[in-house]
């Protein structure tokens, strides 16, 4: 039943009047979206605006309540992603779906009808290599997935959908997981693909990036389109931000000057190995005071994750870690938590939340074992509900109800849920890893404001981020990590991006960390440690 219509030859995708309702939310509200052939079209919007949902509709994962979809001039109604792929649409999800113990080529071939029985892997390696060359993608087809960095894994995902014959590529927040350098490479690759006639839908929260890569953009707000396919020419970051959140966004943070207080966290000669048993931390010394934000800069994989893990009790180490004078090294996560630690983990879905449990059960994750949430042996779910409702309002978590499963929240709201839980425990030390990754400008503003508020309340904050700009605007001091060592610590006022950049790649060393040894507090239970 193909309607006789004047379809535009130049359009790859035309989505008209798409509405999709989830229980309690209108995720897409009569949205129109068009994608021209050979263009890069950015899709912007706050967390929970409905971007991923719209793309899932296009991929045939959800059937819209209303609306029509036209792909290359033909009406379509996809029953499943398989149909969408057959029509030349491919999507790179934010969470990669690769098999770690298989090679690049094997991963690319998964799910295809060809090869049927005998796998002549050499032949397909060659095919993959040729395809990669055509689009200027650097990859070794014989490498196993677990050996690859996140950026390289993403290239495999892209190659996979190209190999499946995609003309239309959907990239859902592809740069959120990438280091700046990798992001720049990805953008180059996407440009190249557009030049060769592919059409790309690019979802991102980073406005600079969007302005750099996209030809046109569509903005969603609370399920509705507030801009439909406007050109990026001459548009400002501020204008975009206000179209997205419906108000002005202040890009300058209000950070008060304040004198830091007592030492809260101290690391003495801390060393640790990573999962592959290679040294990841080498004699790290650090100290962090009340009301102070210490930013950790560094290229991903230089020991930042391990640093966070030893402090939060998730990894073994040598040396001493003192939180408020109490030894927490090699104890347990529980020991760190009861010493006053709050942890905003890098991996929200995998570590920070229990996806199938309700908001309520997620916010009580660290307070379920004491009053008022529980008494003696029981969890008081009524009190827990009240607590959850309070946090939901206070932190403006958008969700139909406190009974909603965590996995149904959009990325930004999930992060707010974690912040709400962690900050409501009145922590002495907050360890935050990439706290704004994948968040929209409004949410970033909210998160940073919350962190600054904790700072003024006297919490000590260890902030690990790859976003140098953010790090510099927020931190009081910045420490740079390179190959597991702190290669320099500087005051925010003296820090400049160039020096930090040089330190990050290991070509400059600055002052070693922390105050001189004699001013350090002595570990209280040092003897106990020795006796063990």
């Amino acid at each position: 039943m193909t309607l006789q219509e004047t379809t535009n030859e130049a359009l790859a995708v035309e989505m008209k009047d798409i509405t999709l309702r989830f229980p309690g939310v209108l995720a897409n509200d009569h949205v129109n979206f068009t994608l021209r052939k050979g263009e890069i079209h950015a899709l912007l919007g706050e967390n929970g605006a409905g971007k991923s949902t719209l793309m899932n509709v296009l991929m045939g994962l959800y059937k819209p309540n209303s609306g029509t979809i036209i792909v290359n001039g033909k009406h379509v109604s996809f029953g499943s992603p398989k149909d969408a792929i057959a029509s030349g649409i491919g999507m790179v999800h934010q969470h990669f779906m690769l098999v770690p113990n298989q090679t690049v080529t094997e991963n690319i071939l998964i799910g295809l009808d060809e090869p049927k029985f005998v796998l002549n892997i050499k032949k397909y390696d060659q095919k993959v290599r040729e395809l990669a060359e055509q689009f200027g993608i650097q990859i070794d087809p014989t490498a196993q997935i677990w050996q690859l960095s996140v950026g390289e894994q993403q290239r495999v995902e892209i190659l996979k959908i190209l190999y499946h014959g995609a003309q239309i590529l959907i990239m859902d927040e592809p740069t959120a997981v990438l280091a700046p350098q990798e992001a720049a490479e990805l953008i180059e690759t996407l440009r190249g693909m557009a030049r060769q006639g592919k059409s790309v839908i690019f979802i991102s929260h980073k406005l600079n990036e969007v302005c750099a890569v996209a030809d046109r953009l569509t903005i969603l707000r609370k399920g509705r389109a507030t801009a439909e396919g406007i050109s990026v020419e001459g548009i400002t970051r501020e204008a975009l931000a206000s179209l997205m959140v419906g108000r002005e966004v202040i890009f300058n943070l209000q950070k008060k000057d304040q004198a830091p207080g007592e030492v809260v966290l101290e690391l003495q000669e801390v060393s640790a190995v990573n999962n592959k048993n290679l040294p990841a931390l080498r004699k790290v010394n650090l100290c962090l005071k009340e009301g102070e934000i210490l930013g950790i800069a560094g290229v991903a994989g230089n020991g930042q994750s391990e640093l966070v893990e030893v402090i939060t009790g998730l990894r073994e180490c040598t040396g001493h870690i003192l939180l408020e004078g109490k030894e927490i090294a090699n104890k347990s996560p529980q020991a760190s938590i009861s010493a006053g630690l709050a942890h905003i983990p890098e991996d929200r879905i995998g570590v920070g939340t229990a996806p199938n449990l309700s908001l309520t059960k997620n916010v009580i994750m660290k307070s379920y074992d004491h009053a008022p949430i529980s008494n003696a042996w029981r969890v008081n779910y009524t009190a827990a509900g009240v607590h959850a409702e309070e946090l939901k309002n206070q932190y403006k978590i958008q969700a139909p109800s406190i009974e909603t499963q965590a996995r149904k929240l959009s990325g930004g709201n999930l992060q707010k849920l974690i912040l709400a839980r962690e900050l409501s425990s009145k922590p002495r030390l907050i360890v935050a890893m990439q706290p704004t990754r994948g968040l929209d400008v409004g949410a970033i503003e909210a998160v940073l404001d919350l962190l600054l508020e904790e700072r003024s309340k006297g919490s000590a904050i260890l902030l690990v981020s790859e976003d140098l700009e953010e790090l510099l605007s927020l931190s009081d001091r910045v420490a740079v990590m390179y190959e597991g060592e702190i290669v320099g610590v500087m005051d925010q006022k003296e820090a400049d991006i160039n020096t930090i950049g040089l330190m990050m790649i290991g070509s400059l060393r600055g002052d070693p960390a922390c105050p001189p040894a004699e001013t350090r507090t002595q570990p209280t239970d040092l003897n106990e440690q020795g006796a063990e």
């Binding site: 029953g79 529980q334 938590i337 660290k366």
Partner: protein, 379 residues
């Protein structure tokens, strides 16, 4: 023009009644499928099923038999549901049941107490404790292997089942055999759980009714399991670990300890079932006291969607299947039905994630109805 199955991912939450409905549906469909199989071998399913009914619910005696059979199933179903809640696949309730029976019997066989002088309550109480201890210790083994060394519990529990059976046989034949038979001497009355027939003097109707106190253990256990899973701190921890162990670890829970504890608790329930069986039904330790209860328990837990109260209902159904199955030839029919139920129950989970409709298609193979529905929505 034609018909096609239209499978859609659910955008709405599934209705609250759906899980129960899929379970009931699975049971009904299992009877239909087994009926077809019976028909294909020339039997008359209607007659067999009506015979099933009278054999299991036709008289008070039959009902009592069903409940007696349902008692170990109830306890074992609870044991499985409890472990499954934390995604621990304890397939070893069978072995834990045997160990429970063995430990409980040791109270009498050794004997651990002076059987002449100790009051009945104490003897039975000690047997219960020993039964639970036996099951718990036997659950400890796969628990610690899984918790410390990440050894797959499906394999270890399965293997341990065989060991438990042979362990029991060794003692039954080697040491405590009653004149060379594969059973021990009958236990003295003091070791018997009270039965309704014990009260036949006062109430005539009770004569010959073998229903014993074990069923009360089962019901109390169901309430306790429910309280633990849905109301307690421990239950919260179990749910959290079951959903995302990494998050649980990050929240400061001790995963290792909880795996071991859950395994031991689960084992204790199965061990109590073993005690109830020797003390309430066979009154001695003997070979083959279980007719695959451990495996039926797995199916029961699934069919009950891990809900302790639903486990009660489902174990009565399975008790009835076993009682009726004993009376017909070949006796495999009730296992056939059980197997089909498991298969259907597991596959019915699809319905919770997807909606499935039959739709009409036009000549291009495009769905007709979906479009018109979309148009309605727009108007």
């Amino acid at each position: 023009m034609g018909l096609r199955l239209d499978v859609q991912k659910r955008t709405e939450d599934y209705p609250k009644w759906l899980p129960a409905a899929t379970s009931v549906g699975a049971v009904l469909l299992a009877f239909v499928f087994s009926g077809l199989i019976l028909l294909s071998v020339g039997a008359d399913p209607i007659r067999i099923y009506s015979f099933f009914w009278t054999a299991s619910f036709g008289s008070w005696g039959a009902v009592s038999d069903v409940i007696v059979k349902a008692t170990p199933l109830l306890l074992i179903g609870l044991a499985c549901a409890f472990a499954f809640k934390m995604k621990l696949w304890n397939i070893g309730a069978e072995g834990q049941f045997y160990m429970g029976a063995f430990f409980a019997s040791m109270v009498i066989l050794l004997p651990m107490v002076d059987l002449e002088a100790t009051p009945k309550v104490l003897v039975l109480g000690l047997m219960m404790l020993m039964g639970m201890l036996g099951g718990a210790l036997y659950g400890f083994i796969p628990g610690i292997l899984r918790a410390k060394y990440n050894i797959n519990e499906v394999i270890t529990t399965l293997m341990l089942n065989y060991i438990a059976v042979f362990w029991n046989n060794y003692w039954i034949f080697g040491k405590y055999s009653d004149a060379g038979f594969q059973m021990t001497k009958m236990f003295p009355k003091i070791a018997w759980l009270p039965r309704l027939s014990d009260f036949a003097k006062q109430y005539k109707g009770f004569s010959g009714i073998t229903l014993h106190l074990g069923v009360i253990f089962g019901l109390i256990a169901a309430v306790i399991v429910w309280l633990i899973l849905y109301k307690s701190r421990w239950g919260y921890k179990i749910t959290l670990i079951g959903d995302n162990p990494k998050a649980a670890k990050y929240a400061g829970l001790n995963i290792t300890r909880n795996i071991v504890l859950v395994f031991m608790f689960s084992g204790a329930l199965a061990g109590l079932a073993g005690m109830a069986e020797v003390s309430g039904v066979v009154h001695r330790l003997q070979e083959r006291i279980s007719t695959n209860y451990g495996f039926s328990g797995v199916i029961i837990a699934w069919l009950a969607k891990l809900n302790p109260f639903a486990v009660i209902l489902v174990s009565v159904l399975f008790g009835a299947l076993i009682v009726a199955g004993r009376e017909i030839q070949p006796s495999g029919v009730s296992f056939l039905i059980q197997g089909i139920i498991l298969f259907l129950v597991i596959s019915s989970d699809v319905l919770l994630k997807y909606t499935i409709r039959v739709v009409r298609t036009d000549k291009n193979g495009e769905i007709v109805q979906a479009k018109s529905a979309a148009v309605e929505e727009a108007e």
